[in-house]
């Protein structure tokens, strides 16, 4: 079913989905406001997807354009798979927030603005020559402007807070209004505020008062015109227990689950880096699940300590983002060489170098698949959504321990920070994969630490096991004994063995499924990672128009499932949308000799459904001179020699 977003909220009919964007100064608490609104949305039973978009600076100068922090949520009574393209409602807490975000707003959409912040100084900082609320520059939208600052001050007056502290409650006032607008229960939020400010009950009370005042304002104030109460009925969902979850949370839980399924304690070595740190924070609170967290002196030490822990019999895990993964690379090579289990989580962000720390990108795929010295294969698993990251983390642990290998789990800034409703899984539904350590010599009275099993994996020998003393290291090792062996035939054999082992994983993973559509046809849109939502929605819309399009979404990026070649061969065209310059497309071309084409985007923002639809349409538009070749701005590749059959 297509998601019908609100044409305009001023109509009386109920839309199926609404997109709201909260935008303000990075100090205005917009992420928190968005997070709490998300929770209330989830509790109301709507499906949802969010997109937090914040500046890299912790406290960017107030009122500036680059200091604008925004949180977008798409929610409704149908399946929601993306954070939505264009917002229906924009809450702008200051002129800069309006300036940055208004262009995205749907025509006819609603702007709620705090006039209290539209001072000459703030207008100047936002590079407005005139007050946009007072001219006709916002004519294509409905504007509801009133002095939220003053109303908040009024509401919290009884609590005797200083002006600055009192104004901090503005976000709760605004949230109160939003809760009224979408007919939400305030009670869970009031509980949350009480818990959050347990040590400062006055602050809690002030925030609650502001929340109530915002709500009452919607209820009673004589707002004529655009503001209407909208009630979205709950979305259909599988029965069960639900909660909201971000990717960082679900990866942490998935890693704990993976370690438990492997029957191992987990050692997590991390170093602070955006947007990966949240995983370290979550795991640091889960010590009772046999988790040891270690904040190392740098990225290198974090991975090295994790490998050390694996050597001593724990499940070693490390996590970072692209720049940190680059630093870890040499040690990952040692993990591959010594064939020890290791899970490496990469929360990708915009690159190269420091790049865009708080923005999302999928540009570390080459790094994951190819980015090491020597022939150094490892397995790569990519999560497509916050909820999916849980299963992917378990899969990474499974592969690492079964195959005695480093496994890279790719996620990104979008998945890490975004929240979605998540059906709480039943841990007993997962097949355990308990690890067996080698306890005695494995070749008569000889120990052969590199003797492989039928999967090509060597035995895991815990340092400290009586009678199994042996030495490992980064120098090429003898194929059986693991002793240093530089001989040509041995290096050939070991290179082959490492490669075969990883390629063999293809036999141990599910066949590639089609996420939507038939398993052959005109166009396959092949994605990986967090592009799942926009691809899925766009393919759904295209199929409604009768187009022969299927969506294939790849979790096992390396090695790929064994039916990939056959599956892709069933389509006339393969389009690969990615938030990079075409990395997975290159891998697909290389692996399957197919004429895959790219839809690329590297603006730090996720794809919109519209962009995706447009790209799909070009394969079916008979009047177009585009032969199913490149779409979007990327003109660097040759167009497809095939013609579109439509």
């Amino acid at each position: 079913m297509a998601t019908q977003t609100a044409e305009t909220l001023t109509e009386n009919e109920t839309p199926e989905a609404v997109v709201v964007r909260f935008a303000g100064d990075s100090g205005d608490g917009m992420q928190l406001t968005g997070g709490q609104f998300t929770l209330s949305t989830a509790l109301a039973g709507n499906d949802l997807a969010t997109f937090p978009d914040f500046p890299a600076e912790i406290r960017a100068p107030q009122g500036t354009l680059f200091g604008v922090s925004a949180f977008q949520i798409n929610f409704g009574s149908t399946d929601i798979e993306t954070a939505g393209d264009a917002p229906d409602v924009l809450v702008a807490m200051n002129p800069a927030a309006l300036k940055v975000n208004a262009p995205a707003l749907k025509p006819g959409g609603l702007i709620i603005a705090d006039t209290g912040e539209f001072s000459t100084r703030n207008l100047e900082k936002a590079k407005y020559e005139e007050n946009p609320l007072e001219n006709d520059s916002l004519a294509k939208w409905d504007v509801l402007a009133f002095d939220i600052s003053a109303l908040t001050l009024e509401a919290v007056k009884p609590f005797g807070l200083g002006n600055k502290e009192a104004l901090r409650c503005k976000n709760m006032w605004t949230l109160g209004l939003a809760l009224w607008m979408f007919d939400r229960d305030r009670a869970p939020l009031i509980e949350w505020l009480k818990a959050k400010f347990k040590k400062h009950p006055v602050i809690a009370d002030a925030n609650i008062a502001a929340l109530n005042a915002g709500h009452a304002y919607g209820e009673t104030a004589e707002i004529s015109g655009p503001l209407k109460k909208v009630h979205l009925p709950p979305a259909e969902a599988q029965p069960g227990l639900y909660r909201t979850i971000t990717g960082a949370e679900s990866i942490s839980l998935g890693l704990v689950a993976g370690a438990q399924l492997a029957n191992l304690p987990m050692f997590f070595g991390g170093y602070p880096i955006t947007p990966a740190s949240a995983i370290l924070h979550h795991l640091a609170r889960l010590k009772e699940f046999g988790v040891t967290t270690f904040q190392a002196e740098d990225e290198i030490a974090a991975v090295c300590a994790a490998i050390g822990a694996s050597y001593a019999g724990q499940l070693g895990v490390t996590s970072s983002s692209g720049p940190g993964i680059a630093l870890k690379t040499e040690a990952i090579g040692l993990g591959i060489m010594t064939e020890l289990p290791l899970v490496i989580v990469n929360s990708q962000r915009g690159g190269p170098s420091t790049g865009l720390p708080t923005k999302t990108e999928q540009s570390d795929l080459y790094q994951a698949v190819y980015g090491r010295n020597g022939d150094a294969p490892l397995a790569v698993v990519a999560a497509r959504s916050p909820g999916d990251a849980f299963d992917c983390a378990i899969e990474a642990c499974r592969l690492a321990t079964r195959y005695m290998t480093p496994v890279m789990l790719l996620t990104d800034g979008y998945i890490a920070n975004a929240a979605e409703p998540w059906k709480v899984p039943d841990p007993s539904a997962y097949e355990p994969f308990p690890v067996t350590f080698l306890e005695e010599k494995n070749a008569g009275d000889e120990l052969l630490p590199y003797k492989r099993d039928e999967k090509g994996a060597r035995p895991w020998i815990k340092a400290g096991t009586p009678g199994l003393m042996h030495r490992i290291g980064g120098i090429e090792k003898n194929a059986d004994t693991g002793n240093i062996d530089y001989s040509p035939a041995n290096h050939q054999a070991m290179t082959d063995a490492r490669k075969d082992k990883i390629e063999g994983i293809a036999r141990d993973i599910p066949l590639q499924e089609v996420a939507m559509g038939e398993d052959s046809g005109t166009l396959a849109v092949v994605g990986w990672g967090s592009t799942f939502g926009p691809i899925h929605q766009a393919v759904r819309r295209a199929r409604k128009k009768g187009l022969s399009v299927s969506h294939i979404h790849v979790r096992h990026v390396w090695p790929m499932p064994s039916n990939m070649a056959e599956l892709l061969a069933g389509f006339d065209h393969v389009l690969v949308p990615e938030m990079n310059t075409g990395q997975f497309k290159t891998v697909l071309r290389d692996q399957f000799m197919i004429d895959a084409h790219s839809l690329t985007k590297t603006s730090g923002q996720p794809f919109s459904i519209a962009e995706m639809e447009e790209a799909i349409a070009q394969y079916f538009d008979s009047t177009s001179d585009n032969e199913g070749g490149e779409v979007e701005a990327n003109k660097t590749q040759l167009p497809s020699p095939k013609t579109v059959n439509s």
Partner: protein, 344 residues
Amino acid sequence: MNDMTPIETTLKDWESDQEVRWCPGCGDYAILKAVQRTLPQLKADPAKTVFISGIGCSSRFPYYVESYGFHTIHGRAPAFATGVKLANPELDIWLVTGDGDGLSIGGNHLMHVLRRNVDMQIMLFNNEIYGLTKGQYSPTSREGTHTPSTPQGSIDHPANPCAFALGSGARFVARGYDVSKDLPDVLKAAHAHKGAAFIEIFQNCIVYNKDVFEDFTAKKTSAETQIWLEDGKPMLFAKGTKGIALDQESFALKVVDVEGDDWQTAGVLVHNVKSRALAHMLVELPFGPFPMPLGVIYDNPAVTFESAVVEQNKQASEGKTPDFAALLARGQTWTVSGTAQDPV
């Protein structure tokens, strides 16, 4: 050091089947023998002993010891060792590094393993040169060292390993040298210390930096050029005719002559391994005007990192039943029943 069940072994039991591949005459052989001779005296258990190294000539060491061994990557051995120790605090870890591995590429990790006080013996083989890469100057090479990468002589100031260790917060600092008959005693003291025990071992690279320590290791003059420190004993050398005293005015150490046995009158200091201030002075003593201080310079144990981690993990888990299903359902939840919604 760790608390192992005592095991009876001989030197032979600690020799692996691997052919030792250092240059003939290299000081590493003597250190290897000293270690293999010491381990049986410590009643060490080969299965609980792990040698971990980085990259360099010295870092081949683990291959030659019949125990667990991990030859890792350049400079990072302390980080691997930290992970091993945290994962299994029962293991007795010997870290083998060199002046390039430990103080150049791995300076950061060495600093942090010392600061954290992870229980292990850290042997830094200082030969003041890069041997394995064929003789470039190292961070401990003296100014003016001529090497392929410094044909006009090196111009940077050398690092002082023991001062670095103390500055990083080490609770045990000692010195020895490859062919010294007293090296096993230094190793034993390091092993007896619970926590990170740092030992600088001067090692003769006979190929690229031959006899660079000859001025204090030469047997003929060693009585004059070495001072072996012992806790609670006066700091005497040159067969008791000289000692180390404190110059009250400059607040610096000085060499004094001792008449007969009367070191007290000469003001000779009594070594105190628990005195951090004294340790700082001793590691900074310039060789030449002073003899080379050897033996245990500082030994003042503190809580070890791994024991603190284990304790914190224990406390954090206390009274909590690890219920994973409950963990998954943490936070605010709602139930969907049938196809209709009933938010809770």
